[in-house]
């Protein structure tokens, strides 16, 4: 039996040893916002947060997680249901096309901003190595700048 805390909720699960977190989320818990893209941590579609750090869940065995907090795209919004600044910026810049990679992109961007409040383009290019086939990269850069500005703005003005 493995205990996982996902989006603040504890789950006790009977799982095969070594099962990657991605498939627990998707097939066992029906949390399908986290996507399968490559299975080898190359594309980032499966990105989640582990204690706030972006991780690729397709190669993350559940047995290795311990008591770290898992947050998926479904749990990124604020406790009041308000979109995370990254999600709001993504809508404002009309980033997604097919949208398949965007859960991972949003999670990667949110983790980046938590670490670096105002990244420049070079920092974004180096940090966001997730793949997008629709070519939304330019809008992602703009949306990250927008989210950074919103977070920096005094409360009530952003």
């Amino acid at each position: 039996m493995v205990r996982l805390t996902i989006n603040g909720q504890a789950h006790d699960l009977d799982l095969p040893g070594g099962m990657p977190l991605l498939w627990v989320l998707r097939d066992r818990l029906g949390l399908t916002g986290t996507k399968f893209g490559c299975g080898i941590a190359a594309c980032g579609a499966c990105t989640v947060h582990l204690d706030g750090v972006a991780m690729r869940s397709c190669v993350l065995p559940v047995d290795s997680i311990g008591d770290q907090q898992v947050v998926t795209v479904e749990g990124l919004q604020g406790p009041d249901g308000a979109p995370h600044p990254v999600q709001a910026a993504w809508i404002a810049e009309q980033v997604p096309q097919c949208g398949y990679c965007q859960s991972g992109m949003v999670m990667a961007a949110a983790a980046l901003l938590a670490e670096q409040p105002a990244p420049d383009d070079a920092t974004i290019d180096a940090a966001i190595t997730n793949l997008c086939r629709c070519g939304t990269y330019g809008r992602i850069r703009r949306a990250i700048h927008r989210a950074a500005a919103a977070r920096a703005a005094p409360a009530g003005k952003g």
Partner: protein, 753 residues
């Protein structure tokens, strides 16, 4: 992605007129029936395209797949504009499968050029395919046709509904219809100040006879069309709630993984199910079309079991095949073999053979490419109680339905096909290979739904690839450098024919395939005497529709060679193109716009250069200027791409910009990295490290300029892709003097590896 261009060599007279307006289809049947069955909570289907609820909510049924192009929003805008709906109350849903939603344009695009060369074949092919198409009304998303196809019927449906609502209001108030005004989801009578919402009027309106015609708005009064309306699908795509095909999650569901014959043409000889059957979670092991699958309690367990399954394959006719041999066969096609002509003007051979003609010659080649949709191929199916339900991210729901009928042995009305969001399509999801496998498994699970998901490796090694293709140009210039004659001989497979042979072997006729010559046969340039011909060489590798199809290579061939001619003529590439485009005002306008916005001719920082390309595809003209540098160690960098597009009347300018950005990125992946290679008849590349796609750090700044226009809309999903490869190659030439005639632009090709 022009899904069925060859198959549907449809006679204009047979289906064109009737299908252009959904109302006229199938006399005696109320076209609204398709949607009326879905009405709930007092909703009324006023036309086949939308329902209106008592609270005024308008739900538009969109019969095209949403694969990132924003089509749900774009088509709903067409209805809402003419309906004078309140956009805040507009919702969208996927339309059911019904002949009223046939994609007529994807059929009509299959007509060969009206050049008189294939009249006999057109008549023969037309009759048969026309019968099939008209009877069955295939729904498909591809060939950048959605807006072009829906432009008339969906606006008309909106206008007719508006007229009926106004008529109902006028009858209620006993005033002339002409005294009423429809706006923002209400009908008003300014004379008396009365007004009623659409929700209050729709029941009465639906009992009226639809008017024979309803006038369409003057474009000058558009409120939605031409504005950057935010996309309706985007909020769900940032919080994980959007459901893609792969996200289908049903009670009691099983999960499957597959292994397919690695070598093309190989077959399954035997497998040892007992070796994995007893693993915890494994439910069954079964043969499926082109492979063997394991069904289990989760995808990971199924994948691990199928990976461990001992399997023997029987080698097929393509054992030992390499991509070098494919290329050699294509190049052989440039020397011999019967060619089909797609354009013929004057006597180019005579000019080329004249004494002292000194022809300019060049040969170009491009490799196979994979689609590499981010969402791997998948389908979920359930066969229970004589009913079949399929959840498949697909571009052709009608084909999915036919397959379900065939495999489950049921009638059409026992099949329901759901088309969730597609995590990329690009033409790959016009194919039904994964659907057949999932349905086969669903016949074995005792009524439990089963979701089959391909691994990335299966997806990449079992694609229907963009074909490898080659081209040889021979041209003669006059003393001033102007072309007097040009022959463009292309060799490659026929995608349309391959698609038909997979789907309907009995229809596999040798007919002209426009997709092979798209963007070459219809060149806008004045080359003097001209012949464009294509030699079809069957591909041992399955080939399919790949974003922009033949345009994806013909644009590279033609736009590179025009640059070569400009260089021979000692002319500026922009000036030279202008010279050859006399009498083509729309092409010239795009060319001039992109040149101006890119600062063509203006000084650049040291070590940078620009390249230009112009290409028309799917009814839209796109010009692009790429700005590049080539630094030791850093390789080729694309700094900036300027893009101008004339796609007729713009529907949603921000969606157009997004499609240009996306088309450029897709084309850049191909131009910089894309190459599928073969060893021993199997694809070598299996995942993203082997088949790289463009990364964030490689994405240039892209600016898109949309030409204002009132012409009928052109497509936008594909036209952004063709020009980028030649723009890049021409920029490399401007920078280094090295002419790029093969893709991708690898270090070896660039002379730095």
């Amino acid at each position: 992605m022009a899904l069925t261009r060859r198959m549907f060599l449809v006679a204009g007279g047979l289906v064109g007129a009737g299908l252009a307006v959904g109302w006229a289809l199938l006399p005696g049947r109320d076209a609204r029936a398709a949607l009326a069955a879905r009405a709930r909570n007092g909703e009324v289907a006023l036309t086949a395209w939308y329902r209106i609820a008592p609270d005024g909510t308008v739900t538009v049924a969109v019969p095209r797949s949403e694969m990132g192009q924003g089509i749900l929003t774009g088509l709903a805008m067409l209805v809402a504009e003419e309906l004078e709906a309140d956009w805040a109350k507009v919702r969208v849903e996927q339309a059911p499968i019904d002949p009223v939603y046939v994609n007529a344009t994807v059929l009509m695009d299959g007509l060969p050029y009206d050049d008189g060369y294939h009249a006999g074949e057109r008549t023969a092919g037309t009759w048969l395919v026309g019968q099939v198409a008209a009877m069955l009304g295939v729904m498909a998303t591809g060939g950048s046709t959605s807006v072009r196809d829906a432009w008339q019927p969906m606006r008309e449906a909106g206008a007719m509904g508006r007229a009926m609502l106004q008529q109902a209001a006028a009858a209620t108030w006993a005033v002339p219809v002409a005294e009423t005004v429809a706006e923002q989801g209400r009908v008003r009578h300014p004379g008396s100040g009365r007004s009623l919402g659409y929700g209050e009027l729709v029941a009465a309106a639906s009992r009226l006879d639809p008017p024979a015609t309803a006038p369409l708005k003057d474009p000058a009064s558009y409120r939605l069309i031409g504005t950057a309306v935010p996309r309706l699908d985007i909020p769900a795509k940032v919080d994980g709630s959007a459901r893609f095909g792969i996200d289908t999650h049903l009670p009691d569901m099983l999960f499957a993984a597959v292994r397919q014959a690695p070598q093309f043409g190989a077959t399954l000889a035997r497998f040892d199910a007992a070796a994995v059957q007893d693993r915890p979670g494994v439910v069954l092991v079964a043969e499926v079309p082109n492979g063997v699958a394991v069904v289990a309690g989760d995808t990971w367990t199924a994948q691990a079991a199928v990976d461990a399954l001992p399997v023997d394959w029987q080698a097929g006719p393509h054992a030992g095949l390499t991509d070098a041999r494919v290329l050699a066969d294509l190049l052989d096609g440039l020397d011999r073999g019967e060619a089909r002509s797609y354009r013929e003007e004057g006597d180019p051979d005579g000019v080329l053979a004249a004494p002292g003609a000194a022809p300019v010659e060049a040969e170009y080649a491009v490799p196979y490419l994979a689609h590499a949709c981010m969402e791997p191929m998948n389908t979920t199916a359930r066969i229970a109680d004589g009913q079949v339900e399929v959840w498949s991210p697909n571009q052709a729901p009608t084909l999915v339905k036919w397959l379900a009928q065939e495999i489950a042995g049921v009638d059409a009305d026992a099949v329901t096909v759901h088309t969730p969001f597609l995590g990329g399509g690009f033409g790959r999801r016009a194919e039904t290979d994964v659907v057949a496998q999932a349905l086969t498994l669903a016949t074995l699970t005792g009524g439990r739904p089963v979701k089959l998901t391909w691994s990335r490796e299966e997806d990449m090694r079992h694609d229907m690839y963009r074909p490898a293709a080659v081209s040889r140009f021979r041209a003669v210039l006059d003393d001033a450098g102007r072309p007097r004659a040009l022959v463009n001989r292309i060799a490659g497979p026929s995608v349309a024919r391959a698609f038909i042979e997979r789907s309907w072997p009995w229809m596999g006729m040798d007919l002209p395939d426009n997709t092979t010559a798209d963007g070459a046969g219809d060149t806008p340039y004045d080359f003097g005497a001209l012949r464009v011909e294509h030699v079809t060489r069957p591909s041992p590798v399955p080939v399919g529709f790949w974003r922009s199809v033949g345009h994806s290579y013909n644009a590279f061939f033609v736009e590179s060679f025009v640059d070569e001619l400009a260089d021979r003529a000692g002319a500026d590439p922009l000036a030279y193109r202008r010279l050859l485009l006399e009498g083509r005002p729309r092409h010239l306008a795009v060319l001039d716009l992109v040149a101006e916005k890119a600062g063509w001719g203006q000084p650049l920082p040291a070590g940078r250069a620009r390249g230009l390309a112009l290409h028309k595809s799917f009814g839209s003209i796109v010009g692009q200027v790429a700005e590049v540098s080539l630094a030791p160690g850093a390789g080729l960098r694309v700094h900036r791409v300027t893009c101008a597009v004339d796609c007729g009347q713009p529907v949603n300018p921000d969606s157009i910009a997004a499609q240009m950005e996306g088309g450029i990125a897709y084309g850049l992946s191909a131009a910089l990295h894309g190459r599928i290679t073969l060893a021993d008849g199997a694809v070598v590349e299996g995942n993203f490290p082997d088949y790289p796609i463009l990364q964030m750090a490689e994405m240039p700044a892209v600016e898109v300029h949309v030409v204002p226009s009132r012409e009928p809309p052109g497509g936008v999903g594909e036209p952004g892709t063709p020009p980028i490869a030649p723009a890049l190659a021409n920029a490399v030439f401007a920078l280094t003097g090295r002419r790029i005639r093969r893709l991708p632009l690898s270090p070896a090709e660039l002379g730095i590896g």
